[in-house]
């Protein structure tokens, strides 16, 4: 199941401001809703696409820190 055509919920820039905690929380809610059987087939597929994008976003947030440490001195202000 690949998110071939992104629905309105899964626009990529929509996710950029979402924190890791929020993404994990949303994922949980999507899964809960899908498990409850309340969602229609289309909603379930939309939920899944959104969920897949959230998983990708969470993984991207773990991108390696390039420099081990920078420095903020008094003069840098």
């Amino acid at each position: 199941m690949s998110p071939a055509k992104p629905s309105k919920d899964t626009a990529p820039d929509d996710l950029s401001s979402i924190t890791f905690e929020q993404a994990m929380e949303q994922l949980q809610q999507l899964v809960d809703r899908m498990e409850s059987g309340q969602a229609g087939l289309k909603e379930s597929l939309d939920d899944y696409r959104r969920g897949a994008a959230l998983v990708k976003h969470c993984r991207a947030l773990l991108k390696d820190a390039e420099d081990e440490i920078g420095r903020l001195s008094a003069g840098d202000r």
């Binding site: 498990e35 773990l62 820190a65 903020l72």
Partner: protein
């Protein structure tokens, strides 16, 4: 408070002159009347001996400390500094480990060391300044800060589980910073780090650390930190004193960014710890509390991704199962079956309507008969209306009585006919029974009627069977 350099001619002018007068007599001045350096040094020694006699106690903060077998240090206070020497015999008796920045009480005497032109305190004993005083002061401040609400649990803010960028407030090159970097590597470098360097010890430490915290907060537009990690390695109570001072504690309270502390390696909790959003016993533990562990986070994302896959699969399975159940319903299996009840309804309706038509025909026939009768009575020969009516009435009753009799007869006939059908030999034969006749064509009802050797004919549903009796057996029922 500015102090003038030591000037014997001002501070102890009379003494100097007196001493100089005595030197004049004791030492030979050269032709120009100039003193030799050693003569001057001798005068200085004499001035000190007279001006700062014997042993005294001085209070100050240790500057740079170096130790061989002896201890060399400076003793300072704001803008005044003086050298300090403690011989090995004194060092051996020290009850603490003197360090830079420590406030101490020194008992000793003043000495001018002529070979190096050094004015220094020869320390006989040294002790850290009032340990008991510090504890009392800390309790006092704790009470004050608590009253201000600085330690309120409600003030504490969570920091992100996966911080993107963390500000480390500590001194550059400190062991604590190395500990933090070590943990950062161990947990898979899940965030960017920026050091905000500051002194963490000595009198200026409190204001410097406070400024560093403010700087990290102010850097937000360029460096959007998620939280501040304030760390410092272990040390004595005096070393860590800055972390009890109002400047640091207030800076933590006012920090927009959550602050997590890891101060010292001891159980002793500083007031900065109490005000922090999170506090851990050591720099390493604090770092581990702030930096997310890459493997752990990946594992959790994996679990969520699996949940998502499974939820979708279940949602699709539920629907295909429902579809399958529908397909298994008899109607879907044989569409013709759906027509059976409908056909039965049509049949029932059809026979009812036939009956209704028959009944309607009967009623019409009756009405016609009645009309004919009335017509006959209205014949010119029949005059009297009343008689006509009565006649008509009795005729109608007679007709009804006759109809009822006929109806009863008809239903009896119907019953009899059904009994006849049930009792008809043919129908009995069809059920498997048979009729046996003797040679004279009489039905054989008892065993005695058929003697051995007699010929019998058996009638079954579709024909006859001829047979000869071989034996008979009578049985009493």
């Amino acid at each position: 408070m500015a102090r003038k350099p030591f000037d014997p001619s001002l501070a102890h002018g009379a003494l100097f002159r007196q001493a100089a007068g005595r030197d004049d007599r004791a030492e030979a001045a050269d032709a120009a009347g100039a003193l030799s350096v050693s003569a001057l040094a001798g005068r200085i020694k004499e001035a000190i001996r007279l001006g700062i006699p014997g042993t005294f106690t001085v209070r100050g903060e240790l500057g740079r400390v170096s130790r061989t077998q002896h201890l060399y240090a400076t003793l300072r206070e704001e803008d005044a500094t003086i050298g300090l020497v403690m011989w090995s015999s004194g060092v051996a008796k020290l009850a603490f480990d003197p360090r830079e920045g420590q406030a101490v009480l020194v008992r000793g005497r003043m000495e001018f060391y002529a070979p190096q032109g050094k004015l220094q305190v020869i320390a006989e004993s040294m002790e850290p300044v009032g340990q008991g005083d510090l504890d009392a002061r800390k309790r006092e401040l704790e009470q004050l800060f608590r009253a201000r609400g600085w330690f309120d649990a409600a003030r504490k803010r969570p920091w992100p589980r996966l911080p993107r960028h963390v500000a480390i407030v500590t001194s550059e090159g400190a062991a604590a910073l190395q500990d933090v970097l070590q943990v950062h590597r161990e947990r898979g470098r899940t965030c960017r780090l920026t050091l905000v360097p500051t002194l963490v010890q000595g009198e200026r430490a409190a204001t410097e650390v406070a400024a560093a915290i403010a700087r990290a907060n102010a850097a937000a537009p360029v460096l959007p930190f998620d939280c501040i990690l304030l760390v410092r390695g272990g040390g004595s109570k005096e070393d860590l004193w800055a972390f009890n001072e109002a400047a640091i504690v207030e800076a933590i309270v006012q920090s927009r960014l959550p602050v997590v502390t890891g101060i010292g390696h001891e159980i002793d909790v500083s007031l900065a710890d109490l005000a922090a959003d999170g506090m851990r016993a050591t720099p390493s533990i604090a770092a581990a509390a702030v930096f997310a562990d890459r493997a752990e986070v990946l594992e959790e994302i994996g679990v969520r991704a699996d949940d998502l896959e499974r939820a979708l699969r279940d949602a699709l399975d539920r629907r295909s199962l429902a579809l399958e159940r529908l397909m298994n319903r008899p109607v879907m299996q044989s569409p013709a079956a759906a027509l059976v009840p409908a056909r039965a309804r049509v049949d029932a309706w059809s026979s009812r309507s036939q009956l209704a038509v028959r009944q309607a025909a009967t009623r019409a026939g009756n009405r016609l008969a009645a009309l004919e009768a009335r017509l006959a009575r209205l014949h010119p020969g029949t005059r009297h209306a009343g008689a006509s009516t009565r006649l008509e009435e009795s005729s109608r009753r007679a007709a009804q009585a006759m109809a009822r009799r006929l109806e009863r007869l008809a239903s009896r006939l119907d019953l009899l006919d059904r009994q006849r059908i049930a009792l008809s030999p043919t129908s009995v034969l069809e059920r498997g029974y048979s009729i046996t006749l003797d040679a004279s064509g009489q039905p054989v009802r008892t065993a005695g009627q058929a003697a051995p050797g007699a010929s019998l004919t058996t009638i079954v549903a579709d024909g006859r069977i001829d047979s000869t009796v071989t034996a008979t057996h009578e049985e009493t029922p």
